[in-house]
Amino acid sequence: MQFGIFTIADITPDPTTGRVPTEHERLMSMVEQGKLAEQVGLDVFAIGEHHNPPFVTSSPTTTLAYVGAQTSTIILSTATTLITTNDPVKIAEDYAMLQHLTGGRVDLVMGRGNTGPVYPWFGQDIRKGVEIAISNYDLLRRLWTEDVVNWEGEFRTPLQQFTSTPRPLDGVAPFVWHGSIRSPQIAEQAAYYGDGFLHNNIFWPMSHTKQMVQLYRERFEHYGHGKAHQAYVGLGGQAFMRKNSQDAINEFRPYFDNAPVYGGGPTMEDFTAQTPLTVGSPEQVIERYLTMADHVGDYQRQMFLMDHAGLPQKTVLEQIELLGTDVVPVLRKELEARKPADVPEAPTHARRVAAAAAKNGAFDDAYRFETGDNWTGLRAEDARN
């Protein structure tokens, strides 16, 4: 089981002081959070991708590579990668680069993006969002698994004799999760490929989340990747902790009441009852998150949002420390104890390389391309003509 934190890198004024961090401060605070996450024993650090203020994370691989250079074990991931408005060729290249430079510590969460104008800014049409996600991802997989790709489709210019470089590390592409809150088509997409499905349920009631996960699990089994309970599931989470639960409630309330998304809406009490947000002691957070598997089955990844709503960096770092030292060790022990032996471990590069070797034999780096020609990428038969 993997535990991690994710940030959407929003610049939000601190409602208690009115202070607004600069873009530079916000970016550097994210880097510090990623490094601390590794130090306190978390497994995953993920960042969002946005192309509009108040967000500062337009180029995730830049930030992830920078964090990757200063860490050694933590998996670097996304929350999410925009599969609709990014060119799948550039995603294939960027994340293969990151994979090499970080020794395989990379996976991705694909998302469509819900900011309307981003689509036209990048030359796409939001009404075709699902179709673009399906088409772009199918091409992305081919770019990672096939050395030479000929491709033609609706949403980018055709490719003839194209080789995406560098080739994935050890011949194994980064693991992909598909994130969607409400679209059954995306759960179906994740299931079809045998990829992971991450339901970032931080703003959603479990009654909805469990059905999306169930759909994904049923379809995962339908496509023959394993039994439904063996599919790869991730969840979002959100917590604010202090040793004394009333302190947590008092301190977090102004941030809750003014937060983007739910500020001005339901009371914190209603929202914590309806969504995974837990405000209280570390013991209360443990108690709450031990129940998630009762709804969605044994799962592989639990992510937490810790740094939003204008919380100051000092507080965020304290929260990450509490999560890593007080909460996660207990969750990890309890959740792994209840997990049946035939439920797969969370995917890592090492596990995926071992699985590929067991299936196809050891990867031979010296002879990569199906063409036997590592320079041009041309097929042998094409080169003769």
């Binding site: 059954p184 703003f203 998304v261 339901p266």
Partner: protein, 233 residues
Amino acid sequence: MTRTFRLVALTAGLSTPSSTRMLTDQLTRESAAALSRDGSQVEVTTVELREYAHDITDALLTRFPSEKLAMVIEQVRAADAIIAVTPVFNVGPSGLFKTFFDAVDMELWKNKPVLLGATAGTARHSLAIDYAIRPMFSYLKSEVVSTAVFAASSDFGADTEGQADGQPLTVRVRRAAAELATLLQAGLGDAAADADGAAATAGAEPAPARGARSTLDAEFADFVPMDRLLGRD
């Protein structure tokens, strides 16, 4: 075989008691009477939207309904017809009425028979139903009953307009209720259910593996199997 018609009345008056609620009760009573004339059973549920005002706002902001509001949504989904009644404020429906429709899934209303009612202080607002309320239901693809009923304060008394009938409001309510009954008895409520089923099988056919054993809500069947989408089946 006697059948049961489920009517859900949504009433958006703000005061208690409210004249909007009085009109709603007249519409539900006459609709139930018209529908039960052939021996059918009628179940009426009346929802005072005022009691859900906070839940409706929260749903608009968080994009998911509270448990309390979700129960109303399920009642609407299961209803054979909706009776929707609002006061006229500033030449349109009340904000509470409009916000409820903004906060819930628009698919709920597709092909659903709807009887409209509105109230205001004077008859000068009577066309608000047709220029400001009916268009939304056209957009939502509901089957709106031709006669909508407007009631001004004076309509709750005797005939003040010199019409031949002593109680013109009652006559309009009966006419609207009869039209709703005709629609439902012609099977329009069934058609709504059928159309939903057809959409699920034509546009987004549930895969063979998911059959009766799947316990998922209908919205989770809204996908096209990937092998078909990619032309690889």
